[in-house]
């Protein structure tokens, strides 16, 4: 049955007039079913401790804003007792200051005092040696799966000690679980197409990462549905092609270009990576999993987090303006020519994908997406 499906897919491509690497080309399509920052949290990666609960951070802000020790003690007691502390929360909700006047801290993070919360200082993190500076580069990680050293993943350094961003591939970070939960049901699916002469053998492949018209379809238990059919959205803003190779069932990219995918503005209007690296394992059960990495602009990441506002800050993310300073501090690429501030940060994302049928954008009967 699988073979038949593959043959059908290949036939569809042929009919569509697509150029294949050769007459016997094989294509596998996937729909990305999980996409989140790759984290590897453990007991030894935050030497100064994981950031405290958000209420404790609020109290620190209050102190910075001039609250007396007595006020702090009273507010702490009220918080502990679950009593109302309206004056405290009013202070916190407007803890930014511009010309001495309170402002919204989420839309004006630079107007909030920097608590200088620490980043992660562990040794292991997922990713690739993006800058090519080799295994001994200070601040780099060792990948826990490949054991490669010199891994650049400063997004993990920046956020890895905040509660909402701690987790592992199995125990997923709260923020990313929330964000992907929102994204997968509110934006068209992301598709991966691997094409090569014989995907059961080592050799060159091409990798396409596109956006679909359709949303990711889920099963009745919420798990991603296998073998759904998707159409590629021809919008050039979400069309990405890379040359790569397949070795021992793992696809990697050999030409590290740029990736751009439209995304739900709820998290970020676009997902962008430069110097793209990919490691995607094609599993015997027809699914795929792996990592995609590169440099991504850090400000959109902040605005995605900031969008949660005061309620989300309390319930999901923790101190939002604190992320602004962490991301800014750990950004490690694309310096602004005037200020010198790095505008991008090295990042690694973990991908899971399920087999799918994909109709190429070049096929007939494409229609414009309604939403």
């Amino acid at each position: 049955m699988i073979a038949r499906s593959l043959i059908r897919a290949a036939l569809a491509l042929s009919v569509a007039g697509l150029s294949l690497t050769d007459a016997g080309a094989e294509t596998r399509h996937f729909a990305i079913s999980w996409f989140a920052q790759a984290t590897y949290s453990n007991d030894h990666d935050c030497s100064r401790g994981v950031h405290p609960e958000v209420e404790e951070i609020y109290l620190r802000y209050a102190a910075k804003l001039g609250a007396t020790p007595q006020q702090i003690a009273e507010w702490r007691k009220k918080i502990m007792d679950g009593d109302e502390a309206r004056d405290f929360y009013n202070l916190i909700m407007n803890r930014g200051r511009i010309d001495g006047k309170p402002v919204n801290p989420y839309t004006h993070p630079a107007a909030v005092v920097d608590l200088k919360m620490p980043g992660l200082d562990g040794k292991e993190g997922f990713g690739f040696d993006l800058d090519g500076k080799g295994p001994d580069q200070p601040g780099s990680f060792q990948d826990p799966e490949t054991r490669q050293r010199g891994v650049d993943h400063n997004l993990y350094r920046a956020l890895g000690c905040t509660r909402a961003f701690r987790g592992s591939l199995e125990s997923r970070p709260t923020y990313w679980a929330w964000a992907w939960g929102q994204l997968k049901d509110s934006q068209p699916a992301w598709l991966i197409t691997i094409e090569g002469a014989d995907l059961n053998k080592d050799g060159p492949v091409s990798v396409a990462i596109d956006r679909a018209y359709e949303y990711l379809r889920s099963n009745s238990d919420g798990s991603p549905r296998l073998d759904m059919a998707y159409r590629v959205d021809p919008d050039p803003r979400s069309r990405n092609r890379f040359e790569g190779e397949l070795r021992n069932g793992v696809v990697t990219i050999t030409e590290h270009g740029k990736l751009r995918l439209l995304q739900n503005p709820l998290v970020s209007p676009e997902f962008k990576l430069s110097n793209v690296h990919l490691r995607l394992e094609l599993k015997p059960d027809r699914t795929a999993r792996g990592f995609i990495a590169g440099y991504t602009p850090w400000r959109p990441i902040y605005w995605g987090i900031a969008g949660v506002g005061f309620g989300g800050e309390q319930q999901v993310t923790g101190d939002v303006p604190g992320f602004y300073y962490l991301l800014k501090r750990y950004a490690d690429a694309d310096p602004d020519p005037i200020t010198g501030q790095n505008e991008s940060i090295s990042a690694t994302y973990y991908i899971e994908a399920v087999p799918a049928f994909v109709k190429p954008a070049e096929s007939e009967s494409q229609q414009v997406s309604r939403r």
Binding site: M1, Y215, N219, S220, D221, A229, F357, K359, Q367, R371
Partner: protein
């Protein structure tokens, strides 16, 4: 008052059923004919009638009494059920809800053919015009003067109490909708002038017999007019109406109703699958699977007017993207994203294991327990549904433990587990005739998805039915196609549906004729339906025990009192 009223109505309904049965059942009549029956409207028929008379945008807002399957058909069970007090409450609620919508601001201009002199006062002329018009369609015959007077009087009285003409009208209409004359399809019989001493359905009962058979709904105005003119008791008049009805798009409604009933698709309402084992089998997938099979059947028997037996072998079907995932074939949306799934024609290639409705998700999933497949249940279903054969229930003390344990005694496949039954004499007799049928469908798991192994062991899908051996599901479909019982089965069930009861021994000759004509037509289902619709046997009834003219419609006894109680509440 309310409770008394409902109980009263229910009792009258029950009496109506019993009364008719007593009145018309007879065995000493020289003409071979069965008894007249009184059928309760099925839920689908109720919906169809409301839609036909008042439009598709009327919400029913209630629940229906459960139907009962007798001799393989709910359509036969419908003549053996009554209405419980709780069920009557639901009909009452639905009747009031429908009636309120019919006269509301959005609908009254279209559905009420006249305007009252004053909306706050009664207008008997207008009320009479409306109630006589809808009463004829709902009762499937013109209201008697007495009935019409009762409803008009009730509307006027309710208007006086409520100060609102339309409210009064709606309460009178609500009474009509909860009347036994609407809820039950009564067969009124009369002496048959062409067979001395015999009886037949009266004109309007013929109209209903035809309409519920061919359209699964009440007669339309043209059919009632033909009944009024006495045309339906002439060969030419009957043919004219049958041809008109067969040419109507509403024929699909009738054919659909037959197959939903015959394939037991009402059981989808209680179908559940273990989401952990069969995650693709969503509620949408179940609904689509049901519709897929119906669409497949309609394509064979109506659109292509092909040999009925092709439903067991055809590779042509229709799929949605939701089903495409289960069948593992690409079914792409055609419209904008977010739009509902669309049906697309699909033909399985010759080397595909899918072919015929028995291999479709609807059949394999419906006839499987929640967590696994079952050759026994599927084999039994094939015998009962496709061949109309009866398989006795298992012994009361049988233990299923061995079978439910997936790997008992190292048995990996259902075939190996069921081999245990072959050693138990009380089980072996039945399993011998049903399991080999079901084995052919073992390549489809409990939710109908294709598989080649079970618990890691390869599946052997070979089997046998009535001495015909085959290697896989395709072979099973072909064996059913070639089985004469499949032809007898659809003839028997279709005629039972038309009659509203199981054909009697005395009607065997008629069935033999139907079958012969069906075969002569190349097993074209519309030809069979036409043959049945034009048969005298459909309209002849056995001798009643008492004169039909002495019975009275039950409506009048309740209408005035009941409507007024509703008006003042």
């Amino acid at each position: 008052m309310g409770k008394r009223r409902l109980i009263g109505v229910a009792m009258l309904a029950a009496l109506a059923v019993t009364g008719v049965a007593l009145l018309v059942t007879g065995t000493d009549h020289k003409i071979s004919a069965g008894p007249a029956v009184t059928r309760r409207l099925t839920a689908e028929q109720y919906r169809n009638i409301v839609q036909d008379v008042f439009g598709a945008d009327i919400d029913l807002g209630g629940r229906f009494e459960p139907d009962m399957r007798v001799d393989g058909l709910l359509a036969v069970g419908a003549s053996q059920v009554s209405i419980t007090a709780a069920g009557m409450e639901q009909y009452d609620a639905m009747g009031r809800a429908v009636a309120a919508q019919v006269v509301d601001q959005n609908h009254r201009d279209m559905l009420v053919p006249c305007k009252p002199a004053s909306p706050a006062a009664s207008d008997e002329k207008c009320a009479r015009e409306f109630l006589s018009k809808v009463g004829r369609l709902l009762y499937r015959r013109p209201l008697t003067d007495k009935q019409l007077l009762a409803y008009v009087t009730a509307a006027s009285e309710a208007t006086r109490i409520t100060g609102d003409f339309y409210r009064g009208l709606s309460l009178s209409l609500a009474g009509m909708l909860s009347s036994p004359s609407f809820l039950f399809v009564e067969q009124i019989v009369e002496p048959d002038p062409e067979h001395q001493g015999g009886f037949r359905l009266d004109d309007y009962s013929v109209a209903s017999q035809l309409s519920f058979f061919l359209w699964n709904s009440a007669p339309d105005s043209m059919l009632l007019s033909a009944a009024a003119e006495g045309e339906l008791h002439t060969r030419r008049g009957l043919e004219r109406q049958v041809e008109r009805m067969m040419a109507s798009p509403r024929l699909e409604q009738g054919v659909r109703a037959f197959f939903v009933d015959q394939l037991r698709f009402d059981e989808f309402e209680v179908l559940a699958k273990d989401a952990a084992l069969f995650p693709k089998f969503s509620a949408q997938a179940a609904a689509d699977a049901r519709e897929q099979t119906i669409k497949t059947v309609l394509d064979v028997v109506l659109t292509r007017n092909a040999d009925y037996r092709e439903i067991f072998t055809t590779r042509k079907t229709f799929l949605t993207p939701e089903l495409g995932a289960i069948y593992q074939v690409p079914i792409y949306q055609d419209g904008p994203n977010g739009a509902p799934d669309q049906w697309q024609p699909y033909e399985f290639p010759d080397d595909d294991p899918r072919g015929g409705i028995l291999t479709q998700v609807a059949f394999t999933a419906l006839h499987s327990p929640a967590g696994r497949g079952s050759p026994t249940i599927r084999g039994k279903a094939v015998r009962e549904i496709a061949l109309c054969q009866t398989v006795p229930p298992p012994p009361a003390d049988v233990s299923f433990t061995e079978f439910e344990n997936n790997t008992a005694h190292g048995a990996a496949t259902a075939r190996e587990r069921l081999a245990a039954h072959a050693t138990v004499p009380s089980c072996a007799g039945c399993h011998k005739i049903i399991d080999p049928i079901g084995f052919a469908l073992e390549n489809f798991d409990g939710a109908g998805e294709f598989r080649t192994t079970e618990n890691g062991s390869p599946i052997d899908a070979s089997g046998e039915v009535d001495g015909i051996h085959y290697e896989d599901a395709g072979g099973l479909g072909q064996a059913i196609y070639n089985n004469p019982a499949a032809v007898s089965c659809v003839v028997d069930r279709m005629s039972a549906r038309a009659l509203g009861r199981t054909p009697m021994k005395e009607e065997r000759e008629w069935l033999r004729t139907l079958k012969a004509e069906f075969e002569k037509s190349g097993h074209r289902l519309p030809a069979l339906m036409r043959e049945i619709a034009l048969s005298d046997a459909l309209y002849r009834v056995g001798q009643p025990k008492a004169s039909p003219v002495t019975r009275l419609p039950p409506t009048e006894a309740i209408v005035t009192v009941e409507l007024l109680s509703g008006a003042s509440s």
